[in-house]
Symmetry: D3
Subunit: 265 residues, 6 copies
């Protein structure tokens, strides 16, 4: 299963690869607490593994860049070990990466992200870079598109962090991330302020993770399995690779022109 | 129907109001094309009107600040008249408003937003200000919580901009925004790149609005009515006022401390 | 009295208007205390009204953008309700507006400002944008050019904030801003530090408004009248419209070139 | 004529001086063309000389810092040799100086400025630092307060740059700046765009100096004399020293508090 | 050989570790071409490996954070695959990491850096953070302190990038980085501009790496060996661990106070 | 000994000079304590004097700009009178100067620096400006290249600030900087934390100067002499002028292109 992984290549190898590569996949993770049963590097590792697998499917049209191994995690900072970047720092990293990649002739970028806390920043990054740098930027949550598998295998009403989904993905992609002997259900703080700010509620806002869960998990990690992980990951890779193939077939959007007053319609 | 509207008050009146006010509602809109049948100020006006009505329901515990009357609208810039702020500009405005409001003793803020393009920035704003300024910040889409009315009255699969929902809201809240004689369905560009990036698709990214619709609308504005607008708006106000009441009953989160290493759990 | 008011137009209307429009008028106001007898939105409203009237006189060569409805007001922050932007925030807003307007083919901009605290920032904005963006930027105090009327009707030695001048303008342009039953003279703090920093004094500097006036006013608002307002406003509109006509007849200054070393003289 | 000039002192001498010093005078100049008859360092040198003389009058209560020897001069950049700082650069320099001076116990600052192009930036600097840093900041044009001498000795309607005023000041303060054999009247471009933007006109804005004067001067330098310079400088020093003495007698304004909502009146 | 590696720990494990940990080691690398015989991740991997070994020697007083896996490499950007951060981006990352570490009670930081292009930025980072954040920050080149081994084993006059030193380190620390069958000497461009800017020359400045070497290497990688790597690495670890032990025994410098004017001597 | 000194020229003189000038020399100094026997302006004055002498040797190919008379000196801030710029402020000043110089057709710049604390910032400045502005930027310590003279005349193991080297340079270049009657050896704090961070030690980091020396000096100023100063200065000028001549003969590096993917080798 061959793929172009930039960290493992020499420059002459990259030079050769660039003759077919049209898109760079940038794994974007985080360094944050994942409860008592997962390593804090969980998101960075899962994003990297997903990127490699996606690159294998799309070979030789894509390459994988170094991983952004820390992310926007302020809500986890009260758990020991979490390291959080400000959104503007993440934007700066991504901008520099895109500018560097453009220097090598790559003008399509996919930020493949495993951490929910990065999503808003990635949305702004794509809008900004697409306009200012003349590239086509996309972003995706690593396994969010595995809707069928999720529906089939996930029954917790509240899940998404060190839960049966994430631990299952790790079992399949990077089992060293998991402490099987420590698996716990989320120790949820019932009736907290956070309940009013979950997705779909009228208000959104910021809350600290310990307001919601005492052990840093939600969902039920004890239900995780390699089989569930495989189902989720492979469906997501199917969906993502198909979506990327469509994008690879298109030409890059014209850079937005400034100051000319032309009307595009 | 009394309420505290900061733009219409003198300072002694504000001084009196502050004895009961616990939260400021900041209307956040945009200035952007809304097709051939709505004024470009649509979002700014709707946010303002919703804020006033919400304030009336929550009187005397909230006040309404001046409206942020431009927003993050780069995808509309190729339509004549659109004015767009960069996300960092919007963040700067909101920060200055929050700092000013703190000076007057207000430490709960609700950004009441009518424009989807602002949402990512508002999410970052709430996270940042909650941590750095010691306030509790929330944000909400003006009518997103009217799920029942939406389900009942909206049948377009693609809607959300100058469509039956938005025009109906305007009929109810600010009919001068609408040109009833010009109502058109969205003139959709079928098969475009945008289809792969709609909510729920595997990839997200930036596209310009004219890639999706030739006349700047989506959905079917010709189905709009005052009755639909009333149903949506009143349900949203019910939902929002209830959610805010919960929040008003809580004490502001302790400011996140720096450099002490204490573990909160 | 027709005029192009961007907030009240659809994009096809703007498209048509752009065939004759050469300049955008940006109303710049503030949200700050105006004593016990004026609403805090005073400056934002007066700037908007002046812009509309000026646009009517210059129709169809100008259009009016959304109003910058908050400004640089740190000296008023100790009065309840004032909201102040940092100068860099105001600069960011104006820059984004100018860049957006350029996209629509407009390269002459007039910042029509009603608030003294914005003047220094507007001066920097004009210098910066004229050089960096290739536009011609101008700024003006809304009624400062009504010298004859001022001389005739204003007798206070200290005036300029919620005084006979400003209240008169409001009587004429937007009477809902005034509480006629609350009109007060400025309650001046005699012998304060501020006296050494008034215009024309050897030193300039920053002082808080309450150091100068206990009720937030200076001058004598009780002398205000609709007639004085009309005299001031109409003279100012005469002066401004004549000055703008001259400017409209000129071609935009060549963008300042970088790095060529040519000597222009 | 003794005075504390920081550039000419050792640290033990500064330490001793700080027992009486209450204010720092920061000379602020520019590096820009001054026509065919003055050195480009004119403003930096004149500001320095004025600061030294003012310090002598106020000894031992003030000290003079190093000179800010470049300023905001974009309008002169098309004349060979001009070097211009952006306003934000000048703000950064002044902020760092103020923070350093605070470290030495000095909390009153006077920016003594000889260049009109710096005035708007200095106004913002004083407002910002006074609020954020807990210092009292003032600024003054070096000789603007010499109103009597100006009235008596200056007859040009347009003057202020390498004119009879400035050359006279240089004759008195730093004659090496002048090329007496090259003195020229301003070679004015009549009927230019600049005429509509001079102080007192309805519009303000940015124009390049060569739009106004072909040789870089305005006024009539051939009328300059040592006697006029003495009259201007000594009157200004009288005015400035008296104004500063008042300020030295006051206690520093309380730092503006954030987030407490107290009302100061 | 036990050590605290943050990426491989859960939060309860970190919590326990923090009872003894006094310092965080931040591996700082780069992603840049390393000639035809090394992977582009070379610096990131070597910094990580050195950090782990140093942490083992200093256990349980230190922990290793996630690696900064890209660095300041503009001089390598014309070689395919290089990704470079601007210095301000690297500063932002490091600042966020330090602030996060402080939250966990760690106030001594060592940036362990394998890439020369990062050194200036790290120097500024240490000075800035030490003053502003109240931490003690240090930085070190990974193996620069192995002076004895360098002297003994390195004979090239020009070395330091993908040379016998670096390849030897990789043989010892991470042999997968090397393509033994591709080892080449640096293909030096004799007589280039770069020769005048090497360390020790009168002028310093910026040159692109391809101005100096056609294959991206300097020195003679064909002389590299596992034994040389071991000698260099172990000597460096001896030196570094001893130096860090001294630092661990000291109390953190008092935060520099602002605005008090106290004289420390 | 003729040379082009921008501060002492009129614009027509600069215009003439620009026909031969290829490079600008920017003197970069500092304002900081130099022990009990040197003025705090020492670095600014020495850099200026060195620049003038170097310009004389390279006449008419170079000109000297105004001096950057404050620098990055946080480690000296606890000594009375020191004024320190943040690194980003120094970068901003230098950038504005380079952009202005480019306007006059100068695209080679030498930052001639007398203060060690500026070196890291100057390195970043050269790298950044060379890439972004299309100029060739160099930097040099004023006398660091006088290796022979240093070896011959300097015997202190620790020297470099207000020591026999610096005082000797001042005796030769600007004797008014020295208080001969106050000359002292450095009053070194033996066994301090600083010893572990001197150049060549395994760790680098930030320490305050008073941690190292009680009187602000290191080395032995009592050994200084005019003869040593002359030897050092003249050797440095020989070395610098030769190195600059080489650089003047080269054409400016092509601006780094973005987004084209071409491989330069």
């Amino acid at each position: 299963m061959q793929s172009y992984i930039l960290t493992e290549m020499t420059w002459p190898e990259v030079k050769d690869a660039l003759s077919t590569v049209k898109m760079a996949i940038v794994p974007v993770g985080a360094h944050e607490q994942h409860g008592p049963h997962m390593n804090e590097s969980c998101d960075a590792v899962l994003a990297t593994e997903m990127a490699k697998r996606l690159a294998a499917r799309l070979h030789p049209q894509v390459l994988v860049t170094p991983t952004v191994n820390m992310g926007v995690s302020p809500h986890h900072l009260n758990f020991p070990g979490t390291i959080s970047l400000r959104p503007e720092t993440l934007l700066a990293i991504l901008r520099d990466m895109v500018v560097s990649l453009q220097r090598h002739g790559i003008d399509k970028i996919l930020f493949l992200n495993s951490h929910g806390g990065n999503q808003a920043t990635l949305g702004l990054a794509c809008a900004t870079f697409s306009q200012e740098l003349g590239v086509d930027c996309y972003y995706a949550k690593t396994t969010a598109s595995a809707k069928q598998a999720m529906k089939e295998h996930i029954s917790s009403s509240l899940y998404g962090h060190s839960c049966e989904r994430e631990v299952s993905e790790a079992y399949y992609l990077a089992p060293h991330l998991v402490r099987p002997e420590r698996l716990e259900k989320g120790d949820i703080v019932e009736g907290g302020r956070w309940e009013g700010m979950r997705p779909g509620k009228p208000l959104q806002g910021f809350y600290r993770y310990e307001e919601m869960t005492r052990n840093g998990c939600i969902g039920d990690a004890t239900r995780a399995s390699h089989a569930i992980g495989m189902a989720i990951v492979e469906e997501a890779l199917d969906e993502l690779s198909q979506a990327v193939r469509t994008v690879l077939a298109e030409s890059v959007q014209d850079r937005v022109t400034h100051g000319e007053g032309e009307f595009a319609v």
